[in-house]
């Protein structure tokens, strides 16, 4: 808590430079607001630093990294599940994994670019099946912002008119790869839809950004700027307005509040200088990433807000969610010995399977209430990496010498993988809080996680396993990697989806939510959240597009409130 505040230097202070912070900066600077952006990581320029087109054999460890640290490989990530000096803890029985990317643009540099709209049912899940909670807004509220976001960032896809999968403003989709056509054929026999995917990758030029050049390396960052990342599409144009200052290496410790209870500014550690710095602003936007935003609020304690800022409901950190994941890999003999062809394509699937069992769920014929979609990979797409053509016992049958060499080559391109990505229903046992006994290297208390899948999610993972195995068999293939009941059907650990959302959920009642329907803190009207923390549910749709559409809507509201001096 501070005493007399100097006049605010900035109209808006934005914490975080990823999808949510980037969109807030883009909208607010274009509306004329003077913005300061604070990013905990270093500057990152994909045009210079991307490992674009580099061969694995020219890179350390063939361009790979280990499970904990993502830095140093081809992936455009600085961080990973382990960030030096920034620990987190888990309660007994919890195996939460928290992926962080400490760099300008955050995880938008390496993300999968999958851009699916939430459908009408995804905003009203409680109304649909009595579980979880409804959002205080509807699809119609967000639809115009989905339109604008897609038109700004560029998303390819196809109009399908499917239930709860709204079509968008799409660029034309790339033609399917060979193995995807074979999957599509099997799905047709099983009456499962298999349609063009929807990714934030340009298939036509857009402004200065050329169309994709199809080397399947989006995860390395694109030197061409042909895919969406926050710096290329949002931050650099925001800087062109003259209204944006970006400070990197700024690890925010807390939001400071004045005697009137309003947010006055933020206090951060300048990591290079090792100094504490305070800046003031009229409006504070938190987009530090879901859990980091929660941590910031919980660490912003004062006599007026003893349990942390915006936490009079006690719900900050509650209802943490992540995507339900389970995978199957199959070997498909008809894909063996195909004529050599370039199957790279875009950096992601060209076809995917949206959820198709709404009617069966309405009829109560499935033991779980929510949906999942299937992401596809396999074939000859992408540069060979360690692990390729291994798994010798099940596929190669053993051996050595010339016969093994020829047999292993004949297997190239014949594997396909199915990645289930499903909706988790928020539960009381999944949350994060401050760990009172652990601080990071700057002395900031760290998060302690609690996480549990319910039987709903386990049953969904079982359905994924059974369905994917059925598709492999329909393709004439053999399942070579799958999971049974004793492995909980291969369900992921919480956090591994890297889709963590919730923790400052929005709502229409201050007693049961942290933010109002404009993502404005009930307790502090010049404080807003624009990352994944406001999410009330996590549909099977990957969250980034919704984060950006919601951030656009929130930022327009902030601009309108600033014009009328309401905040």
């Amino acid at each position: 808590m501070m005493g007399a505040m100097p006049e605010s230097e900035y109209d808006v202070i934005i914490v975080g430079s990823g999808a949510g912070g980037g969109m807030a900066a883009h909208v607010l600077t274009h509306a004329g607001a003077r913005c300061l952006m604070l990013e905990a990581g270093d500057w990152y320029d994909t045009a210079r630093e991307s490992k674009w087109l580099e061969w694995g054999y020219d890179a350390p460890h063939r361009g790979t990294t280990d499970d904990e640290h993502a830095y140093g490989g081809f992936e455009a990530v600085v961080g990973g599940y382990h960030v030096d000096g920034e620990p987190y803890t888990c309660a007994a029985g919890t195996h939460w994994k928290w992926f962080r990317s400490r760099m300008l643009g955050g995880r938008t540099n390496a993300w999968g670019r999958i851009s699916l709209r939430n459908g009408p049912a995804d905003f009203k899940p409680h109304s649909r099946d009595g579980k979880g909670f409804d959002w205080p807004i509807s699809y119609e509220d967000l639809a115009p912002y989905y339109d604008k976001t897609e038109e700004l960032i560029g998303v390819f896809g196809s109009a399908e008119g499917l239930e709860n999968l709204p079509d968008g403003k799409f660029l034309p989709p790339p033609a399917p790869r060979c193995y995807e056509l074979l999957i599509q054929k099997a799905c047709r026999e099983l009456q499962i839809p298999c349609i063009p995917s929807r990714l934030a990758i340009l298939t036509r030029p857009m402004g200065d950004r050329p169309a994709c050049h199809y080397v399947s390396q989006c995860y390395r960052g694109c030197r061409m700027g042909s895919n969406f990342s926050s710096p290329v599409v949002l931050l650099y144009p925001a800087q062109q307005t003259g209204n944006l200052e970006i400070r990197c290496g700024a690890m925010v410790r807390e939001v400071m509040t004045g005697p009137d209870g309003r947010a006055a500014g933020v206090s951060y550690i300048d990591k290079e200088m090792g100094q504490e710095v305070q800046v003031t602003g009229k409006v504070i936007v938190l987009a530090a990433s879901t859990c980091e935003t929660v941590r910031l609020l919980l660490n912003s304690r004062s006599s007026r807000f003893p349990n942390g800022l915006a936490n009079s409901s006690g719900l900050v950190g509650r209802y943490l969610m992540d995507t339900v994941m389970s995978d199957v890999t199959g070997w498909v003999p008809s894909l063996m010995n195909l004529p050599p062809h370039n199957e790279d394509g875009v950096g992601g699937m060209h076809l995917f399977v949206p959820w198709w069992n709404y009617e069966r769920q309405r009829l109560g014929q499935l033991p779980f209430s929510r949906g999942y979609h299937i992401e596809l990979s396999g074939g000859r797409s992408g540069m060979p990496a360690p692990g390729l053509l291994t798994g010798s016992e099940s596929l190669l049958g053993g051996g050595y010498g010339k016969a093994l060499k020829q047999r292993s080559r004949s297997l190239y391109g014949s594997l396909v993988s199915f990645h289930g990505r499903g909706e988790m229903i928020p539960n009381e046992d999944s949350y994060c809080e401050l760990d009172k006994s652990t601080v990071d290297r700057w002395g900031i208390p760290v998060l302690r996680f609690h996480f549990r899948w319910s039987d709903q999610e386990i049953q969904m993972a079982r359905h994924m396993q059974e369905t994917f195995q059925q598709i492999v068999q329909t393709m004439g293939g053999k399942v070579i990697e799958s999971y049974g009941a004793d492995q909980r059907w291969g369900i992921s650990e919480g956090g591994e989806g890297i889709h963590e959302v919730g923790g400052t959920r929005m709502g229409s009642d201050p007693a049961t939510s942290v933010l109002n329907p404009h993502c404005q803190a009930w307790d502090c009207k010049n404080l807003f959240v624009t990352d994944g923390a406001p999410f009330v549910s996590l549909s099977d749709k990957n969250p980034t597009l919704t984060i950006m559409a919601l951030a656009w809507r929130t930022s327009e509201y902030i601009a309108s409130q600033m014009r009328t001096h309401a905040v």
């Binding site: 500057w43 989709p173 056509l181 199809y214 390396q217 650099y236 540069m383 050595y400």
Partner: protein, 240 residues
């Protein structure tokens, strides 16, 4: 297209020096693919001692393996991926260097498993033939491999050796198929910027018996001109 020897020789880094030497040595031997292993191993060992160990600019400095293990890894790798008329061998492709680096990178259980397996191999060879694996004759080496290379026809007593060899074979395949030579052998023909996306080629569509419903993007796109990265002025940060 270059042959394997030229590919190896044209590589820019000095790391490949001793592999080129090995390659020349092997090419001088009478029967391709049936290299007398004892003499090869002897020569390889002397190379390891003279080239790898002193750590000069042109050498591969061992990161995880001992010189003796390194020699065994080279011999085993070439039993798994030998040279043929389409590509060089595993050692030509730098697989031992890949394995040494990978074991150093991963450490932990994998390193212990591989080192333990190499020791098992030498112990078993010494017990049967009175010499380590690399000093056994080619026939003795082949007999040994036939005991552990086929998981489904192996005696229970050899389970340790089988587990090791399966893991080792995976490492060799990983190293070979991510090398320049292995990528040409597959062949992986990507990592080449494209002006448009053609989709699945018609002959493959026909072979698979599938229906290609979508238009290739080239038919829907105007010509883009040359593929080029954005210029600094297009993609630069004005303020740091």
């Amino acid at each position: 297209m270059k042959n394997a020897a030229e590919q190896s020789g044209s590589s820019s880094t000095g790391l490949r020096f001793h592999r080129r030497a090995m390659l020349k040595m092997m090419m001088a031997l009478p029967v391709a693919g049936l290299v007398p292993r004892a003499s090869f191993a002897e020569a390889a060992r002397s190379l390891v001692e003279t080239v790898v160990m002193p750590g000069g600019a042109a050498s591969w400095k061992l990161r995880a393996l001992t010189p003796q293990e390194w020699t065994t890894v080279g011999v085993l790798s070439d039993w798994i991926i030998p040279a043929d008329d389409e590509s060089g061998s595993a050692t030509d492709a730098g697989v031992p260097e890949f394995i040494d680096d990978w074991l150093d990178f991963q450490r932990g259980e994998l390193l212990a498993e591989i080192q333990g397996g190499l020791a098992w191999l030498d112990t078993e060879c010494s017990r049967l033939h009175g010499s380590t694996f690399v000093n056994c004759t080619s026939d003795e080496q082949r007999q040994m491999l036939d005991r552990i290379a086929w998981p489904e026809r192996t005696a229970a007593d050899d389970a340790q050796g089988v587990a090791f060899f399966s893991r080792f074979r995976d490492l060799v395949l990983s190293g070979f198929y991510t090398s320049e030579a292995g990528i040409r052998y597959l062949p992986y023909v990507g990592n080449q910027p494209q002006r448009g996306w053609q989709g699945c080629p018609a002959p493959v569509v026909a072979q698979l018996g599938v229906t290609n419903v979508a238009l290739p993007l080239e038919q829907t796109l105007p010509s883009q001109g040359a593929v080029r990265p954005l210029t600094p002025s297009q993609l630069s940060a004005r303020v740091r």
